[in-house]
Symmetry: C2
């Protein structure tokens, strides 16, 4: 019989490794308590631990490399790509350092900000590349401090390309990647996981393959945690390299860099930069089809798949690193054919988690931002502490200012012309607004034949879960109950349910029915009368843009609307209707009318005035049906309201 | 439309009134958060607020006065009485100050300790009387500081009887109750609620009725929050007094003191002490029946009921204060006949809450102490903080030492002889111990004809809820699965369910099935094999007295086994199986074999050695069936275990 009491709480043990870090995100009090049930072990692990665990369990994985985009619009697209490719389950992504692009700045397109977005807003484990040559110690320390502040935990330490043609060693400068590795370990102790580059054919500037291997070992001895290799064209190249590394005592993980050939020109450019030679057998295939992009890509996918299969079959490789060139199709195809692309419908929590270390403990959010998670993360990024276990009295955490419409990762993906087609070139009355909402719900084209695929409050089409309510929602939107958020009631479905499930298997998830909408003063007046009948069953908050607020929430307590019961764990309640944060959300929800919709039209135009009128006069209403085991009564509440409005005594 | 956003969280607003108190129980961080959903508003209110709320809602109430007992045994009995009379729902109880009995000491029988027990262990709102005459300022301050430290929040400020025959004012001393009121307000600001005495017939030593009223007003002006009156015999007496008080501007609550006549001698004694005159019409009835206790008590009840009815009908009285003389029958009878005795089967939480202010936020406990709540409170009394919201990583809170068997409020109510009759004058083998457990469960007398109404781990007969499992429990105890704690699984019963319900109405309560027992090494070995089959469904902890511990709890996380979902609130999970506190409980559970059972027998006697053997060799096991919506599988686990033991391959 084994004494198994030595288990430690993984939250507190991993926070320990942050050591005397000055991040300030974890007070000693927090680190001595594990108040968040560990739902998703990976969320609390460092990258090197994740890698080790996957290796131990024989679970194969992949990672994806991106470079920073050139324009803000390209950045918006890249972020959508992060979300889409993140769905396939990469162990991490990495973002290259682009010295010419002011990589450490706050620009939307800088390496730093792109990596920040990947970690914080897309919830992806991220490695930020960093080069050291031609930079001062202070510059580098400054970049590292900033990366840490933003929640980045992994650095790929590189030398980078010298600025001049002829490069000379600087005395006491950063001449090699190993200098950067040492600097990171000196200045930041064990805070960062460090990755270094390996060259299966030897670095082009190295004296010899052997001396390059020695340099690699120096980097590992200086503190690197794992190695990602330069691209190569034959699996034997990597396997030989791997064996040679092991022979000289390099024991850390070595991850092969895979480059699926995606086009003739990109291949040529990459080969030029990396000073690699393309094997003749590949050249022989490519040259004849060099103007047929599709053919080359197909060949590239084929080639990559077979090389990856050989690598995996060798038993020496557990993970594959893909040079995506910021493109989606070829890499995704390779991954799918290898069976590594794992779109896991199971979510650790009902909302997308952020990978920032201080958000590790975050396990409850207000339901209001369900369709705008990036805005919620942005507006709470300054919080030192996250409501955990219980939302608590949310009057203390102050939400960030509402100046964020401009932030590129909150921008609508659709351009103005497209929005006008969806939401109407010209609005004639409030009903034409109802029509837009109705089309968004129904998926039917509007009267000009355009589908409405997003709304100011929902940048994506209707969630699968909301589809469960589609028919009812369509009916009420048509009548001026302009819904922006809703969920059905769920009474104990398995946590593995493909639509409403989340959390570990073997559990049960629950929801209270929720409905949130804008509506007119007239409807609110009737609704309030109707709600009296439902007083003990339905909680409501009704607020206008001025903050006039009507509620029956007891003592301004939050109402848990999503929760889960799991084997061997405490109850998880990840979503609440919180009266205090509702007032912050209200500002955002009303502002979106103007910022995203009204401003599409000329000032003083009738269309703009209609939206302005709604903004000024409508109410934002949320309703919760507390009786989750019974049939959702919120539709009855709405029906009763319309019945009251239509009854003769009301006219 | 009203702006209702001004609601404040009652927890934080009431903690504010503790002001700059040095109790240390509430850090600034705690008071800025309301992390406990307010289940029971009263738990967060001061006595004067409760009184006001009852008055506003027209809800009538009563309170009960007790005096400190003379002996430790009498104290044990009084505490049982607190529990029983507490069930009727008094707004508060009060404990008189007994200057001759060292009232501020740590003796089991002191006023201070009795009041402490009422607050902390019986969860009763309690007023401690305190007299000031013939005492130094330092003595008094010391008593008040101690009262505050123990969690007492209310003081009845009295002058007390002068020690000598002829009393003289001391210069700068405490001559009147008003001096004590002023002192409390000076030294403790608003921390205490202060009660003072009113004399419907005027104080016997007062110059006049009018001057006595003036003194009363002075006490109120000095800071008293409400008044309890001396006893009286006619409702007109009180009503006149009340009107006279109002006429001179006394606006605080005035509570009539009711004395149900319970016997000839006690009446005579009380009248002598209080210098009151018994009205002739009462004397006329009593004198002829003075030797018939029952007749006098019946008359007393009758008289009290009709006087109380008159008081309540006057519309001037909302609460009645009863001088119980530490007796139960007459007062309970009066209260029941008045309809004020309200045994409310609804519990705010599944366990008995403590009324100590720092335990206001306590909303989760380990299930292990379910039958020993006073022990749990005692062992956690030094905690600064209570796990709220989540039990969290309970390795931080250190449980108090196991030296508490001697504490009078943890003593068994039954004397040694009775325990021997129940648990066996002589034990012959382990099976005779099984028999004791089985009889406790079945309620059948043991072979000597004695019912087993308590066990070392359960001082009371089987809980109603446990009765649901009675048949199964009886079967397994007979075979050596010696159960000490269990609960059935519950999948969403209304919170008002008379057996398993708790919390506010309109909610739903849930439980995972739980079973805790001692059993032999042989059975544990088979059980562990069987549990492999149930690995994903059943969590277990198996430990022996030496601390050898086998568990499948993930990351030593607590497992929520009782939770409730309520309208407009966060999820409440008041009971957990917590791996860390289980090891503290294990010490207590094993020690009870020796302290409460083995020590009944002579050293070296066979009976004692049998218990000692069990203590040294048995395991303490707990099992949780996580699949609460399905039929409890724990009985199947036990059946499978016995089947395995009986299978030929095992023999």
């Amino acid at each position: 019989m084994v004494n198994e009491t030595q288990h430690t709480c993984s939250a507190s043990s991993s926070s320990k490794s942050d050591g005397g870090s000055s991040s300030g995100s974890e007070s000693s009090k927090d680190s001595s308590r594990c108040s968040t049930p560990v739902l998703d072990a990976e969320r609390h692990e460092r990258l090197r631990e994740k890698m080790r665990r996957r290796q131990d369990s024989g679970d194969r994985w992949f990672s994806l490399e991106f470079f920073p985009p050139r324009t803000a619009n390209a950045a918006v697209n890249l972020i959508s790509r992060f979300d889409r490719m993140g769905a396939g389950g990469p162990l991490f992504i990495d973002v290259t350092w682009h010295p010419a692009g002011d990589p450490g700045s706050d620009k939307e397109t800088s390496s730093m900000i792109i990596a920040n977005t990947a970690v914080n807003y897309c919830g992806l484990e991220t490695i930020l590349h960093m080069t050291c040559c031609n930079q001062t110690k202070d510059d580098i320390t400054g970049h590292l401090q900033k990366a840490k502040r933003l929640g980045l935990k992994n650095i790929m330490a590189l030398r980078g390309d010298p600025a001049g043609e002829e490069w000379e060693e600087e005395v006491d400068g950063f001449n090699y990647a190993v200098d950067l590795v040492k600097h990171i370990r000196n200045e930041f102790d064990d805070y960062f996981d460090i990755c270094v580059a390996g060259y299966p054919k030897g670095h082009p500037e190295a004296e010899s393959y052997e001396s390059d291997l020695k340099h690699l070992k120096e980097k590992v001895l200086a503190g690197a945690d794992f190695i990602i290799t330069q691209l190569f064209f034959r699996s034997e190249t990597f396997i030989k390299f791997m064996k040679d590394c092991q022979a000289i005592g390099i024991t850390c993980p070595i991850i092969p860099g895979i480059f699926p050939i995606q086009g003739y020109h990109s291949l040529r450019q990459l080969v030029k930069l990396s000073k690699l030679e393309v094997p003749q057998e590949i050249k022989d295939v490519i040259e004849p089809i060099k103007d047929n992009d599709a053919a080359i890509r197909n060949y590239g996918v084929e080639l990559a798949v077979s090389m990856c299969r050989e690598l995996l079959d060798s038993g020496m490789v557990h993970g594959l690193h893909f040079y995506t060139l910021n493109r989606e199709v070829a890499t995704t195809e390779v991954l799918k054919r290898l069976g590594l692309w794992k779109e896991d419908p199971r979510r650790p929590l009902p909302w997308a988690v952020s990978a920032h270390p201080k958000r590790r403990v975050e396990d409850v959010r207000p339901i209001f931002w369900a369709s705008r998670p990036k805005s919620y993360i942005y507006r709470t990024q300054e919080w030192d502490d996250f409501p955990n276990g219980r939302w608590g009295n949310s009057s203390s955490p102050a939400f960030g200012e509402l100046k964020d419409y401009y932030l590129f990762y909150l921008k609508s993906k659709s351009p103005r012309e497209e929005l006008l087609k969806m939401w109407g070139e010209e609005l004639t009355c409030e009903e034409s607004v109802f029509e837009v909402f109705t089309c968004y719900i129904s998926g039917e084209p509007n009267k000009n034949g355009h589908k409405v695929t997003c709304m100011p409050w929902n940048d994506d089409p209707l969630a699968t879960e909301t589809n469960l309510l589609k028919e009812q929602l369509e009916k009420v939107n048509r009548r001026g109950i302009l819904t922006i958020n809703s969920q059905p009631n769920i009474n104990g479905k398995p946590s593995t349910d493909p639509i409403v499930g989340w959390g570990p298997s073997g559990g049960y998830v629950f929801q209270k029915a929720y409905l949130e909408f804008f509506t007119s003063n007239e409807i609110v007046t009737a609704l309030l009368k109707v709600l009296k009948k439902y007083e003990s069953r339905v909680n409501y908050h009704i607020v206008n843009v001025k903050g006039q607020n009507i509620t029956n929430a007891p003592d301004l307590q939050p109402n848990a609307v999503t929760w889960g019961i799991f084997p061997g764990r405490e109850i998880i309640q990840p979503t609440v209707v919180d009266p205090v944060s509702f007032l912050s959300w209200k500002d955002e929800a009303f502002a979106l009318w103007i910022e995203q919709w009204a401003k599409l039209y000329e000032e003083e135009s009738p269309s703009r005035m209609i939206i302005q009128y709604i903004h000024d006069n409508y109410y934002l209403v949320n309703l919760v049906d507390n009786d989750f085991p019974l049939e959702n009564c919120l539709w009855q509440v709405v029906d009763d309201t319309f019945e009251l409005l239509n009854s003769p005594t009301q006219q």
